[in-house]
């Protein structure tokens, strides 16, 4: 069953036949449906995806007629004028179309009629109908007025007057109807009855973000390849600019005369459309190829395509040096990534947590939005850093710790077989672990999963080394002497 948010409440948007037999229905508040039937499998509606799917089917239908148009949300109208004989006549064509769509796993029904409205209605109410020429009126006469799809207002008016079929409505005077329901209604009725026709609206596709160049004479030399790449980059840049978008991923495809295709892709950290920068990134990638681009007998087609594009915020270049530095870093990251690989150039991203080792993660630098990162740490002005810049990969246990109970700093400890005497210390900074990560059923004292509460200390040894270490667990907890760990070194 599929749910949808309408009027700020979840509703049943669509449902399968089995759910219908249980008495659930389209438009029912979800809560009611839940109260009636349990359990229910519910999927949120995705109208965009639905639309894309119908578009896809429409594309596929191009093979039957160039005039396939969408009949939203769930229908297609094909203008088969002059096309039917290619598929063995109307009956055979209808069968071919419906069967081949059904084979792809869709529930489908169809009809052929003289006007789009009649075909629309018959496909839904009497699927399989093929009306003989000029007999549309007879075919739709027994249909209920809902088939007119003339809007709730008119539908109500007709229903209230006791007029239930298209046939009954058709017998009333046109003046009587147009005075009450408007001239549009009468027009619609006429189309339905085959007395008038309304043209289909052919579909329009979004332009591709692509530029290509064909060469009468295959090109071989690097200079010509680069020159044509620059042209393509300029062309693509213009297309992107017109749409207010920038590329995040680019693909250049080189079609060899012998049919082989070589493709290279580059990713960028920011939406990009500057041809020079595009060219530079492509060249760097080309240079870095282990297996250099082999033109063989030459390329006869080069295509440059933006595989991924994003809206660009119109950037006002300010004189703020930070902003410029940020952009420069971005360019550097793109250049490095083009050379060493996207995953190799990483950047730390702060995480909102008290747990030190989880406070930052490294991600591919091009993926993260530099501007949104915020490293601010509550610190009094003039204070030394609370934490080392980088931590050990894993805290290392220290032994032979001398410390006062309950929350004193260590005065001496061993780490990596060396003895350290603490000269100065500050702390403790007490950090409790995230209790909700503990699995249910474990009691307060049984904290192994989430970890124990830690007391952190910054210490300086006699020799001037500075460490960040912690006691894992409080003394009063579970009776055992707590263990100590070293987690980082201050510079």
């Amino acid at each position: 069953m599929i749910s949808q948010k309408a009027n700020n409440a979840l509703q049943v948007h669509a449902l399968e036949a089995r759910a219908q037999t249980l008495g659930l229905y389209k438009g029912q508040p979800l809560a009611n449906a839940r109260a009636m039937v349990q359990p229910l499998a519910i999927v949120p509606a995705d109208e965009k995806a639905d639309a894309v799917l119908v578009e896809g089917i429409a594309d596929w239908c191009d093979r039957f007629t160039p005039l396939a148009s969408l009949d939203s949300p769930d229908g297609l109208l094909l203008d088969i004028t002059g096309a039917a004989h290619l598929f063995g006549g109307e009956t055979a064509m209808l069968a071919t179309v419906t069967q081949s769509i059904a084979r792809q796993g869709f529930a489908v029904q169809g009809a052929i009629a003289g006007t789009s409205l009649a075909a629309h209605a018959l496909a839904r109410y009497v699927p399989g109908t093929i009306t003989p020429r000029g007999k549309d009126a007879e075919a739709v006469t027994p249909l209920p007025i809902t088939a007119l799809e003339c809007g709730d207002k008119s539908l109500r008016a007709l229903r209230h007057a006791g007029l239930k079929t298209i046939g009954q409505v058709g017998t009333r005077l046109h003046s009587e109807l147009s005075e009450r329901l408007g001239a549009d209604f009468v027009t619609r009725l006429k189309v339905m009855l085959g007395a008038e026709e309304k043209p289909l609206q052919p579909r329009r596709a979004l332009p591709d973000l692509m530029a290509e160049q064909r060469f009468a004479e295959p090109i071989v030399t690097e200079e010509t390849i680069v020159a044509s790449l620059l042209q393509l980059a300029q062309h693509l840049g213009e297309i992107l600019e017109r749409q207010g978008r920038g590329a995040r991923m680019l693909e250049a495809a080189f079609f060899r005369v012998d049919g082989k295709v070589a493709r290279i892709t580059v990713r960028t950290g920011e939406p990009l459309r500057d041809p020079k920068v595009i060219l530079r990134l492509l060249r760097q990638r080309l240079d870095a190829l282990a297996d250099p681009l082999d033109p063989g007998f030459g390329f006869d087609l080069i295509r440059l395509e933006a595989l991924l594009a994003e809206e660009t915020r119109p950037a006002t270049i300010s004189f703020d040096s930070n902003e410029n530095a940020r952009r420069q870093i971005g360019f550097l990251v793109d250049r490095l990534a083009a050379r060493f690989g996207d995953a190799r150039v990483q950047r730390f991203v702060p995480q909102d947590t008290h747990i030190p080792e989880a406070a930052s993660v490294a991600v591919p630098a091009q993926d993260s939005d530099f501007a949104q990162q915020n490293w601010s740490l509550k610190r009094r002005p003039g204070d030394p850093p609370r934490r080392p810049l980088r931590l050990l990969g894993k805290p290392e246990e220290i032994s032979a710790v001398l410390a006062s109970v309950p929350d004193g700093p260590p005065s001496r400890f061993r780490w990596r077989r060396a003895q350290f005497d603490v000269a100065r210390a500050e702390g403790p900074e007490r950090i409790a672990m995230e209790w909700w990560r503990r699995s249910v059923g474990e009691s307060q004292s049984d904290q192994n999963k989430a970890g124990l509460t830690r007391d952190y200390f910054r210490v300086e040894t006699r020799d001037g080394q500075r460490f960040w270490l912690y006691r894992d667990g409080l003394y009063q907890q579970n009776g055992l002497a707590p263990r100590w760990y070293l987690q980082g070194l201050f510079a």
Binding site: A31, R124, E426
Partner: protein
Amino acid sequence: MSYAELAVTTNFSFLRGASHPQEFVTQAQALGYAAIGIADRNSLAGVVRAYGEWKGMEGARPQLLVGARLVFRDGTPDILAYPKNRKAYGRLSRLLSIGKLRAQKGECLLDFADLLDYRRGLQLIVMPPLNPESIKPVLARLGSNTWLAASMLYSGEDRRCLRDLAKLARTARVPLIAVNDALYHHVERRQLQDVVTCIREHVTLKDAGKRLEANAERHLKPAKEMQRLFRDCPEAVAETLCFARGISFTLAELGQRYPREPVPRGKTADQHLRDLTQAGLKGRYPQGVPQKIADIAEKELRFIAEGHIAHYFLTVHDIVRFARAQNILCQGRGSAANSVVCYAIGVTAVDPTEVEVLFERFLNTNRREPPDIDVDFEHERREEVIQYIYRRYGHRRAALTATVIHYRPRSAIREVGKVFGLTEDVTGKLAGTVWGHHGDELEEHQVRQGDCDPGNAAVDRAVSFANELMGFPRHLSQHVGGFVLARYKLDWTVPIGPAAMDDRFFIEWDKDDLDTLAIMKVDILALGMLTCIRKAFDLIHRHAKSGKEKKLALATVPQSDPATYDMLCRADAIGVFQVESRAQMSMLPRLQPRTRYDLTIEVAIVRPGPIQGGMVNPYLKRRTILRKDKNAQFPFPAPSPKYGRPDELHAILDKTLGIPLFQEQAMRLAIVAAKFTSEEANGLRRAMATFRHVGTIHTFEQKFVGRMVARGYDGAFAQNCFEQIKGFGSYGFPESHAASFALLVYVSAWIKKHYPAAFAGALLNSQPMGFYAPAEIVRCAREHDVIVLAPDAAFSDWDSTLERNAVGELCLRLGLRQIDGFAESHARIVMEERSYGYPSFADFARRTALPKRALITLAEADAFRGFGLDRREGLWAVRRLPDDSPLPLFAHEGNRGATPEMGAENIAPLPRMPDSQQVVADYQTLRLSLKGYPTQFLRPLFDAEQITSCAGLAALPDGARARVAGVVLVRQRPGEGTAIFITLSDETGIANLVLWESRFAALRKEVMGARLLLAEGKVQKSPEGVLHLMVENLIDRSADLSRLYADEAPLPAPTHMKVKGGHPSNVRVLPPSRDFH
């Protein structure tokens, strides 16, 4: 060496603190603190709770300091403010009021400058910000009586910070003071504190990150631990004691100055009340005041004088007098309302000679309790009374009480579920299993009902935290009508903030808090039945035969009318005040009320208290015996002779045949039988009043039951009495209220009996109110031989009216208000233009110039029959009218007449509408039909299936199996009950179903979803003739309703959707049932 914690944030700093104020006070006592200060964010809302707890504590208790944490909008660090004395407290309260009045609802916007204005007498603690240097100027401007706070919360640099703060304090010449900035009373609440933080910040625990505290240190710590933490600076801990010593203020000093307004110059309030009482009594007893009454009045007046509460009675009198002058019906109730004085000054119409005077009991028992008078007004006109109060006392001196909105199961599980990342459908399911808004705990079976596995870890955890959160205050809201009045400015006593409605203000304390502080309030409540009764009086007066009769009033309705009681004994009570619910209606024939006191019992007996205490059946048994034998004697519960006179309970239980039924009796039992001291009794009363959100009542159980048993009472009886007290806690219904309500029961029943048409009309004109939909009211009226006429544009007013038909019979003409979606303003136009008569529909449309939408509404409701047009013709004619004029500028000129007259039309007749569809359409537009009942069209079908009609049930013997089908009218699931009541109706009458909780799980879908229900089960008949069908199975027959508008020949439907336009039950053939909890 001891310690005092001064920085305490309770859960009245909403979604910040994670402990009740009471818990902090108790914990402080347990830790042996010298003092505890409650300081919530810009609020005094929680201090009374702490004070109430503190007052009841035994043994050594910490000093309780009352303050607030001032949070500023201008970047000043938080400052804790504690008043030294009453005057300083007034300033603090005023300061908070200023901040609240400046802000939107619930907020408080303060500037540092405001504090300086009201600073005198306040001891202030400045909470240091991240950079303490910045507060030097703040400290300098605050001057003396200022402290600088330091805390040791394991931040890592605590000791260095402490050293810096100490230095800063020395240079600024303010003492350093230790605080632990507590958010919860005990370390175990840390998790809940994280949860409420997430609720506040609208994040899940996973995403909350640093919005949560890093550790669990913000609880109350032992003094020793505080000393250890502050070992570098021991004077900071010692300073907490100095701070507490500087404060002498306690909430006991508040008291209340009552307004003096109503007293004429040169008279004392007592004298004035005495004069009013005596004059009033003369009016009430024209034949002379009975001596007994005069004596009681004298006693009451003396008591009032001693208690200095005459002003209270005078203000209530003043309000009531205003209402009377405006012809607004009102009726007082409450502990003080059932006094001779209140009867004399017109606050109540309950004649003290008829009902035992309850005030006397009040005098004897509750000298500490403030008198309590609630006044009910007509619900449609209460606003006028409220406006009068504001006019009279001004906004500074009159404000509404607050209602503390607590977390209830639904809200708790929804919000906690979100915090744990449960999806909305899971929390929705969990919340959906709670029927109604009350309940104290989500239980496992409810979790299971919601189709959630209680073993599921995340669900389980969310449920356990939700249970913990339940009872936490969520926000303050205004009480429906509790007014607090003051002689001087009210914000001198309690902070006042703006309410949602413009020009409304409410204080920070709720009803229980006011009780704790013995502050008096008047409840100005709205009661639909009063509106109904007044409208009925008006209708009766307008259509009186002679036209000379005096208009009826509550006090002048003929008393003790046998016909009225006969009707009630037959459970013929639809529309009658209070006794129209299913439970009440089945009680009426068993109780057989014959007097007003019987009605008082009737009103009070069907409540959780007597039901849980198991008192209902014993009482009914005794009444049955008494009916047969007038002189029957019953054994009263008695102590063993060693401990007291065997008749010690006679005076208390005499009127209820030895069975305690009322809250007042239970309290007297505690004192007389369980020997509660007045202090203990007060505690019990408080626990009872706050049972639902605090749950301290269990502490009294041992005391109550144990002492009664020790004194030789029957153990089961003692336990039942206590169960009853618990029941009162969840829904208290004292005798004093029941007595006032009983009068309204009687009056409404009397009107129903003698003026059924006026009664039905008044009920319809007062909707929405009561249990029954208009369809049932109309049906009931017709059963009482009232001729009911359909709403018609040609004849109807907005309200339902009475009119004489051609034969001169008085008929009820339904008003246009019955038509769904038809506006009152349009009805007024129809009524105005009607004075010239409407010769035709065209004339009607032109002259009223109603918008087309409104005309369509009328036509759909079949309201043009008066013009000879049926529903279809009417609609078709309306649709032909041109659309509304787009230029309102010209609208007044010629109305629709300005448009060219449309030529007469000669069109074919429209198809005729079948009767069943007419009825359906009536239901869709009027929610009732005078043409028939939906089930009558299904009767052939039902007959074929051997389904009995509702009326047919009566003919079946007790225990017979039966099948009955009908429209679901009411679904009711009393909070504590184990049964679900469903009322079905068909064209012959209604059938009452009882469904045991155990079957509910299996039949849930049918109970919740069906509009038309087929029930199978056994007939159960009581000797009094009460008839129930004990349900074994239910079948949803809603789909059959579609037959009503089905056509002879079905039309093709779109094949890929089996039912286009939705499930039949969605097509609103019938209005939804009314559900009660």
